[in-house]
Amino acid sequence: GGNDDESSASSGDSAAPASAGDASGAGEEAAKAGQDLPKGLTAGILHVQGTAQSDQLIGYGVEDALDALEIPYSSQDAQGNPAKMASGLDALINKNPSVVFGISVEPATITAQLKKMQQKGIPYINVGGTVAESPLVALSPVPSDYAQSAIATQYLLNTLGAENKESPGTPVGEVASFGFDPIYSLFQRRITFETMVKEAPGVKIVADHQIDFENPTGDIQSATESIVQANPDLKAIYSCCDFTLPPIAAGLRQAGATDKVKVVSAQLADPAVLDLIQKGEIDAVGNAALGASSWMAVDEFASSEAEKREICRTCWMKNEYMFAYSMVDKENVDPSFDLRPDFAINPLIVDYPGYFEAKWKKEYGL
């Protein structure tokens, strides 16, 4: 450990600063012989909540991508505790890595550490989920919350339309939503949902429940039951995120409304949800291949190192198709899912690991 990336970089090769200027769109074309990855790169990984399946999924993505590049790394798990986010990042910085990948850690809780990293010239890259914008975050190649929410909402509207006996295709009915606005990405999802529903005049949002993050499971389950009771005509529930689904399913089960109320959600990372989809307790979940976020992040970091240029904030976007936004429902659910090696909840639609591994082999000769 303890390398100084500047010096090792310059000793690695001499044709370095050439392509620093045309950062955007450099991508594949920039692959030239001689642009080897500098030696001695190391990385740190900061988990926001190591017990969360989504966190593990994204984390494994980063780890496997780094393994493919033979970059050693060390990890810290903040266990969802802001104080530990800060001290975990401190510990990572102490090891003087070339880069730190943070898994959906809100920059606000680690501002002091990010400033220090900026001074030391260590880039901080956010992977997995959207966080508040910050100049201290060098890169954030994450799936779009709007997109995930939009496909889920559209799925829901389509279902409601299909169920409409009087004028098929026109969605009607009462829906409820679960969300938590203070988290920015979840706010984006709810707003998308709300905006799209407003355009369907037959659909009415009868409840908008804000999750109690101190006691999410108990709160969601009891709120589900209450909402179902308070709104006997409820047709569907839209939720921001996958962790709400087991308690929502349990609440519906208790209220005996599993069949009556459709449940659709954005974001899919927890395999427990696959089980619920297969059982028909949850109808569909908007999925993005979260692991792709990790590989894109590592790729951009590697390119910037190889090409001796700043990290490009937008270059990853040309690969956004890898997220392969899609709905997982009973028709296409694959419950044999394993976190490794698939990194996506359903059979890979786009084989991004293969793509990047091939690309790196070609560029860096690994």
């Binding site: 908008d208 108990g218 009891s222 009771q229 087991p246 089960r253 208790q254 395999p271 427990a272």
Partner: protein, 344 residues
């Protein structure tokens, strides 16, 4: 001889000012112009008022059997945990490990049946034994070796939370749970969901134990004055250990019910029960005429609080006002509570 407390409430909670009961009462009467009859039913009245508002706003939804059953079933696990932790609290021991114990025992039982393919009854039995062992350890460190209950149980709670990650390998376990185990958490008996029945049975059992048996009276004696209890030959350490074992058992059982209800383990399952359990116990104490912790008080408080929370969801207010209303109802109720204490 008069039975009325006339000496200053001996350094009691909230004492400070009023030296005699009569004086406190007189003073209270002065600032609030309410008749004693009204104040007597202050706490319950505040809640009833809140319920009435819910019932008027959403009569069909709030006053339905479904809603009632929903409230009770949401209250079941918190009530089990709260009743359990009330027992050591009676003896002035804080058991802050309940969150960790709940998650650990629950996960253990799930892992044993799902991963190790044990019989689910055996797994549950093992879970209960493990809970007893945890309680005994707490008792050893706190009652025998004299550690501060607050710090020891907090520390051990963190250990158990770590063990949860270890036994579950940091995964959510949702497959492999035996059907019998799921029925244990999800079935109904005579139209009443099983967790509600468990909660009632446990609350009644612990109520009888603490209020009606000789052992329970000794628990109270230790809580009132542990030196006096020791001097009168009561096995103070053993009694305190019993209390900690009971709370660990209740938390462990609560964990099993929780995961059986949910049909899976999940992360951080225990932590919400910590604050909820203690606030129920303290609210229950404030409701009682003598200000003491009691199993019944805790159980009732859990249900009251859950009813308010559900009612607020049903009338569907903006989310921030839910927090505000919930807090305000609680605060108003508690301010009327000392009256009850005075008038007995």
């Amino acid at each position: 001889m008069s039975t009325k407390p006339l000496s200053p409430a001996p350094a009691g909670a909230g004492a400070g000012g009023p030296t005699t009961v009569a004086e406190a009462e007189a003073r209270a009467q002065r600032w609030r112009g309410l008749g004693p009859r009204v104040r007597r039913f202050g706490v319950i009245g505040t809640f009833l008022l809140a319920f009435a508002v819910f019932a008027i706003l959403k009569p069909d939804e709030f006053l339905s059997w479904d809603n009632f059953s929903n409230i009770l079933s949401s209250a079941a696990v918190p009530a089990i945990v709260a009743c359990g932790l009330t027992v050591p609290l009676i003896m002035d021991d804080f058991d802050l490990s309940i969150g960790g114990v709940l998650a650990f025992i629950g996960s253990l039982v799930v892992v044993l049946q799902a991963t190790n393919d044990w019989n689910y009854e055996l797994a549950m039995l093992f879970g209960l034994l493990a809970a007893v062992a945890i309680g005994l350890l707490n008792g050893l460190l706190i009652a025998r070796l004299g550690g501060s209950s607050f710090v020891i149980t907090l520390a051990l709670g963190s250990v158990y939370a770590g063990l949860v990650l270890w036994v579950t390998d940091s995964q959510t376990i949702y497959s492999g749970l035996k059907p019998g185990f799921l029925s244990f958490g999800q079935d109904s008996l005579l139209g009443i969901r099983l967790p509600i029945i468990y909660a009632i049975v446990i609350a009644v059992a612990l109520f009888l134990l603490t209020e009606r048996t000789v052992l329970g009276r000794k628990f109270y004696a230790v809580g009132e004055n542990s030196t006096a209890a020791y001097l009168t030959g009561m096995p103070v350490k053993r009694l305190r250990t019993y209390g900690l074992v009971l709370s660990a058992l209740a938390a462990g059982f609560g964990g099993m019910v929780l995961f059986a209800q949910a049909g899976s383990t999940y992360a951080n399952a225990g932590s919400p029960f910590l604050l909820a359990g203690f606030s129920a116990a303290f609210l229950g104490a404030a409701l009682r005429s003598n200000g003491r912790f009691s199993v019944l008080g805790s159980a009732i408080s859990v249900v009251l609080v859950q009813t308010v929370a559900t009612g607020l969801v049903i009338v569907s207010l903006p989310s921030w006002t839910i927090n505000v209303f919930e807090g305000s109802i609680l605060a108003v109720a508690i301010l009327l509570a000392p009256q009850v204490r005075i008038w007995k």
